[in-house]
Each structure stands twice: as structure tokens, then as C-alpha cells.
Symmetry: C2
């Protein structure tokens, strides 16, 4: 038997239940992971609520990111072996392959080793955040050192990853945060400038920080009425990556700014990388190298034990965190 997190109805954090379930065997193309740490993502909160791109079939497992040791393999697992220390790349259905629990079956293509200089906690805090930011900024955004990158929700793990990738490219990183509480933290993690949106006019602040040019790349998981403000903060020819839908409000398209500035608004998810084998190879290599050189460094906010999974979700929903929330199994 192993402890597995499931939910039998969509809703608040309380729907997450710790259940004792029989250990299952991996099938063709699958491996089983003895989970040691689980990285939490906003996607799981939305999936739990029934608000995600994918809808759960109840009862449902959940979770995209885990690190641990392979303890069983099915057929055709492409070289993955029992005893490998790996973490998971979220390129699969989390309803089918959710990793929250002591044990998880995942596709063999979705596990990857991580550099030895990372702890098992750090190892579960890399692929989602860095591949998401890598795909938008590097693969599609073609980030250059001349770029000014505006990063919203910047204290999230993906936001912090975007700051690190921007700085690794030598570009300007402008982070936003709602209140002043996280400003110093964001400066300490490498942001060149922090705009406190409760206190400052976003577009004016960004224009001042960029000598009136505006941000050339904008990386935003919020949408809603914020998109119009981001368009006002954008440079001529800028690209705004929308990689989430955190705002509960509708998202008006900034048509006039887009016409006047030739703006591109690009819906984007990391699945465009994880489902494209060539892009995934490039992304894994970029991230592995960055982790080894410590140009990229996962920032862990806080850890919870597996039994406190509902508390961990509530903490994520409180938006207090600065970096990754990890569950230790």
C-alpha cells in the first residue's frame, strides 16, 4: 500500500484526501517513481477546482512535478532504469498520471535526471518553472541582451525562473508585485527593477525604467484587465506572452494599442515545449547547463509534509509564497 492524494469532488483545498491505495505496476512506456519530494504548481489548484485546461475524471489524482527514485519500469522505457534518480517533466495528463503521493506512475519520456549539485527538494522545482519560462523567453521570444522583460506574478516559481533566465541572457528584468512586501526579495533574487502595482502606475513606471521605449517582452499568467495595462507598458513590436488565466475576469483585447504598436499577444503553455521533442531537447539542455553553472538556482519557499497537502494548497492560494512550495514525502 502507499499513501496517495486524490479528490472525489472539485472544490477547495479540503477536497484533497490522503488515501491508502495498492501499489500499481507501470505499463508499456511507463515507469514507477518512489516519490521523495513534490513540487506544487498553480495548475494543480486550478485542476482541483475544475478550472484548468484539463478536467478531472473523479476520483482523480493530481500533480505534475515529483522527484525521487525509479523503483519499477514497464516495457519500452527508452533506457530509464530502476535506481535512476530523476524528476518529472510535466508533459502528461495530470488526471491520468498525477504525482501527489508516495508512489507515482509516469510516462518514461517524462522523467529526466537533474544535476548532482541539487538536493531532491530542488530537483522537483526545476522543469515546470524553467521550461515554462524557457519556452516563452528563449524558444519563442528569442531573448537578446537588448530586451527589456516585464515579468508579472514574479514571486511565483515561474516568475522567479523568468527573472533568472532574463538575467542569464544579460537583458533587463522588470518584476511586478502587488504590494511592497516582496520588493526587496525580488531585488535580491536578481530583478533589476520592481514595480509595486498597488502604489505605482505600471505603464508609466515601465516607460520610465526603459527610457520611454517600453518592455519588449512581457510574460504574464494573469490576463483579465491587466492585459490592457501591459499593452500600455509594451514597446513597439513587443510580444506579450499570456501563459495562464489567473484573473477571474474577462480579458479585453487591447486592439488599439496592438494596432498602433504592432503588438503580438501570444497564448502559450509549456506543452508547446514538452510535446515538441526537438524543442524539449533544447530546453532540457539549456536548463541542465544553467543549473550546473548556477546561473539558474531554484528558490524554495517552504516545505510541508505529505499529510499537510491541504495546508500546502491553502498556502499557495494565499499568494504569500516567494518561490516554490515543496511537499516532502
Amino acid at each position: 500500500m502507499s499513501k496517495i492524494i486524490r479528490f472525489h469532488e472539485t472544490g477547495g483545498a479540503d477536497v484533497l484526501k490522503v488515501e491508502d491505495l495498492a501499489l500499481t505496476e507501470p505499463g508499456e512506456g511507463e515507469v514507477r517513481l518512489k516519490v521523495e519530494a513534490i513540487g506544487l504548481n498553480r495548475a494543480e489548484v486550478m485542476f482541483r477546482e475544475g478550472q484548468y485546461l484539463e478536467n478531472p475524471e473523479l476520483p482523480s489524482r493530481l500533480g505534475y512535478e515529483a522527484s525521487g527514485m525509479v523503483d519499477a519500469v514497464g516495457s519500452s522505457t527508452n533506457g530509464v532504469q530502476i535506481g535512476d534518480r530523476v524528476s518529472t517533466i510535466p508533459g502528461f495528463s495530470m488526471g491520468k498520471y498525477g504525482v501527489y503521493g508516495e508512489s507515482a506512475i509516469v510516462p518514461a519520456y517524462a522523467v529526466a535526471s537533474y544535476p548532482d549539485n541539487l538536493t531532491v527538494v530542488e530537483g522537483t522545482a526545476i522543469w515546470m518553472q524553467y521550461l515554462t519560462a524557457y519556452g516563452a523567453l528563449i524558444e519563442f521570444g528569442r531573448l537578446k541582451k537588448e530586451d527589456s522583460v516585464l515579468i508579472t506574478a514574479s514571486s511565483s516559481s515561474v516568475g522567479l525562473a523568468a527573472i533568472q533566465i532574463t538575467k542569464a541572457a544579460g537583458a533587463l528584468a522588470i518584476a511586478t508585485t502587488r504590494s511592497g512586501d516582496k520588493k526587496q526579495f525580488l531585488l535580491d533574487t536578481g530583478a533589476d527593477h520592481v514595480v509595486v502595482t498597488d502604489e505605482q502606475n505600471l505603464a508609466e513606471a515601465v516607460m520610465t525604467l526603459t527610457s520611454g521605449n517600453g518592455a519588449t517582452i512581457i510574460f504574464d499568467p494573469v490576463g483579465g484587465p491587466l492585459l490592457e495595462k501591459l499593452a500600455n507598458a509594451a514597446a513597439v513590436g513587443a510580444t506579450i506572452f499570456e501563459y495562464g488565466a489567473l484573473s477571474p475576469e474577462p480579458t479585453p483585447f487591447p486592439l488599439f494599442s496592438s494596432l498602433a504598436k504592432g503588438l503580438t499577444v501570444r497564448g502559450y503553455t509549456l506543452f508547446e515545449i514538452t510535446q515538441n521533442p526537438e524543442a524539449l531537447v533544447r530546453g532540457k539542455s539549456y536548463i541542465y547547463d544553467g543549473l550546473q553553472s548556477e546561473a539558474l538556482k531554484p528558490i524554495i519557499d517552504r516545505t510541508f509534509p505529505l499529510d499537510a497537502i491541504a495546508d500546502a494548497h491553502r498556502y499557495m492560494e494565499s499568494n504569500q509564497q516567494k518561490g516554490k512550495i515543496v511537499v516532502i514525502v
Copy 2:
């Protein structure tokens, strides 16, 4: 003296007045055109209404496209000479350089010769329509023969230009029209398929016509609630070019479709071509060659005399036209 069209207040077609004004001389970098024909554009209706990207300083001239003969040149006109038969490329302020009238001063960089196989009426019906479609489809859209191109407002001069450019590339051209009246006309001008949006579900029709893939490039001047439908008709990874704002309604951004399909929504105007010297050279060459080979062929709907300019505008606003409306001076 020469007859010049101006307006002293923004509003309906009646604000357009035929006035006798003294002939003016071109300054540095400017040439004067003895106008023989004027091509009408939706942009001028919007400018007249005070709804355009540029606001008029009253009283204001208007108009982007004219053909005729150069009858005076200022200094530094880069080789343009008296007697040249040219038409204008709309890369200037239409408030400052409006071409509606018997005579017009325009920047020397904004005149270009057109192939001898075109009449003076056809000569004023090329640059706006073909450069607008060229920029989106060829320069930024990188149109390939495998593409399925969805073209809305397809009976407009720019829409028809987009159909011709799509067919010249060997790609699939799907045109939309509101009612069935213009369907046969659109098929006759080269559209592979026509979707009548008052009678058919746009997304379903496009999916059927593209074997379930959807349109890979969408070219739309309407915006408003149509954008959501276009996103539903789009293929994974498609680009939607929004090149106008004809809809009076707000334009909701299709965030969920964009995330699910990795869509790009790109605000675009031809000024991105006319203000980029290298892109303009490429565009002029592409269009000149296409006109010579008759792969591109301007479609003239109807002509009006200069004194009937208000009628010509009213006719454009009626949306009855199939192709370019031209005023003969």
C-alpha cells in the same frame, strides 16, 4: 486654384466639402501630384469620423491613395521628376498630406511608379491593398502553400488582395461574407471556399474545409466578438492578424483558446511595412512583379466624379462594394 476636399468638423459623409484653394508648392523632400484618380479606403471614413489611429487637425484634408503625374518637385526628392506617372504609397500622415483633390503634395518617398499594363484607375488601387495584405501574409505570416488562410471582410479591396496573394502562393483561401449576395463574386475572384456567416457556423465550416485542422493564418479587420469565433476556427499554432477595428463593440481576447492552441493574435497595420525601408523595398518588388504577371489584378467596383465624394463615402459605408471604389478627377 484647385479643387480640394476638406472637412471642418468630424462626422458623416456630408462634412466633406469641395473647396477652391490656391495651388501650393512642394517643400524639401516633397513632390506635387496632378491627381487623376483617387482610391478610397475605409481608413478615410474612420478619419473623417474622428475614429482613426490619427486624429484630424481641423480643417483637414484626407486620403491616402492617388495616381497621376508629378507636376512640381521640391528639393531632395530622391530622383522623382516632373512628368513621372506615379501613385502614392500610404506611409504618411493623411491629415498633413491628404490626397483627395485635383492636386496633392506628398513626400517623395511615398510615390512609386506602377506597371504600364495598369490604367490610371487601377494604378490608384494597388499600394494600400496589396502592401497591407503582403505585410501580414508574406512578410510576417511567412505564407506557404500548405497554409489555410481565412480572410474576413473579403469583398473589401484589402480582402480581395489577400485572396489573390494567398492563391499566388498556392495556399488555400477561405473567404467570409455576411450574406450570400457576394458568394459567387468571391469564388469568381479566386477564393477556394466562401463561408456565409449569416447562414453558417464559421468555426464548424472552416474545420470541415480544412479536414479538422483549422485555419493557419487569419486576416481580419473587424475585431469585436468575431475574434473569439476566429480563434475557434484557428489551427494549433495559428496566427490571427487584426488589421483594423471595424467592429464598434469591445474585443474580448480568446484566452482559453489561445492557451489551448498556442495562438498568436497580432495587431498589424501597413505602416509596419511603409516605415521599414527594407520591408518596403521587398513589398514593392513583390507587388510590382505580381501586377506585371497579372497574378495580382486590382478589382475596381465603381467610380465617382470628384464632386460626388460624399456619395462615394456613403457608398463605401453601405458595404455594398466588391473591390475598390475610385474617384476620377
